[in-house]
Symmetry: C2
DNA sequence: ACGTATATCCCCGAAAACAGGGATACACCA
DNA sequence: TGGTGTATCCCTGTTTTCGGGGATATACGT
């Protein structure tokens, strides 16, 4: 009951790892039972350690935090996983939660909230960073940052456009008519409410769509 | 001679600040004399504190680390400044150094090297992260990641292009002929070796030029 | 069985971008 | 003083994109 919560930290930045350690050891009720600088290292160590909560960065050198989360939940579902990132991209957050994460934090989270998040995760609840919360509560309505979803074909076309290919070239690559490519292109412009290809590419890159 | 080196940390992520504190306090010979979460807070505190070395993130909420560095070196040139970032963009590094920084570190730097960097900065030398070093030693030749530099006008035009504006619109905004804008556009395409605007925008965004 | 979404293809005309030249003026540095 | 870089402006012609339509087939869920 009064045991300390064992936390395992995964981040490729030593100073972030140290920072969390320091924050948690100042607080009461936590013990950092280990850490790793990559996804594979984390999985190796977790085979032995088995902490209560894993705090993982989203961007790891060898795999994404999302993949790591999935692995952990598949093999040891009792371990809670909290995502950690600088980015509040909707797709990251949702994919993290879809893969069983107990929450998603931003790296500029204050110490108090970090403690709360870990405690809640430990108790089986889901904690969301307030900023992150604001992202997800509005499905798509008034949220100006909501990203329209693309069909798989549109994604293909968008990527080739960003590569610098013309409608004609894309049509050859995908074995479809250039007119079809043009349709997709125009649908993309319309979906993202942009006027031309330049703005389309910028928007797509800003929202991690490419 | 045997005094501890006083370090001041500027980063908007509490856990990074804590991490560095923890790393430095484990090591011998350092004392963290203060920290700030923004550029303005840093400048305010530095008016009183006056440490030996300032360690600053490049991306701060209110100003860039580069601007902060310039301010510090203008008012208190004896204070050494070290840049700190996740990004190893050439432009960041060079601009940091141009503004008087004593070095540039990546956030995934190991503890030992962090100590070395601070000691060297304290002694008036310049420390560069090994990875960063590899970026700058090759002027532009064999380095595939080298980004051609833009003139200020080209930067303006590039940004407006990425906003979705046409040559005509840009020309009105900048009070120049649309033909001039077109020249800049073509120069950009040529400089970055891309075929069209879409690829230009993608490249620019990939390299933090926008 | 019927709507909805996706993917495909088509047309036309206007607007913009691209290719590939050339030219002038100004500043700055060697 | 002569080169180098930047910024400006111009021309011709071709290719591509954009705007605003319409149309068909397939799949999928209700």
């Amino acid at each position: 009951m009064f045991d300390k919560i064992r936390v395992f930290i995964v981040d490729d930045h030593p100073m972030v790892v140290e920072g969390i350690k320091s924050l948690l050891e100042t607080a009461e009720g936590f013990v950092v039972s280990g850490s790793a600088y990559s996804g594979s290292e984390a999985l190796r160590k977790l085979a032995d350690i088995s902490p209560d909560v894993v705090l993982t960065d989203i961007n790891l050198p060898d795999m994404s935090g999302i993949d790591l989360c999935r692995h952990i939940k598949q093999t040891t579902p009792h371990i809670r996983v909290l995502g950690l990132s600088n980015f509040k991209e909707r797709s990251y957050i949702t994919r993290m939660v879809e893969n069983g994460a107990s929450g998603y934090l931003l790296k500029n989270i204050p110490a108090k909230q970090l403690e709360t998040a870990i405690r809640m995760a430990y108790e089986g609840q889901v904690y969301m960073d307030p900023e992150v919360m604001r992202m997800i509560v509005r499905p798509d309505a008034t949220d100006p940052t909501a990203v329209p979803r693309m069909t798989t074909r549109e994604k293909e076309v968008l990527n080739l456009i960003a590569e610098g290919m013309t409608n004609g070239e894309i049509s050859e690559k995908l074995f479809i008519s250039p007119l079809t490519v043009d349709s997709h292109r125009k649908n993309l412009l319309s979906k993202f409410s942009v006027r031309n290809t330049a703005a389309l590419v910028k928007f797509a890159m800003c929202n991690n769509l490419i």
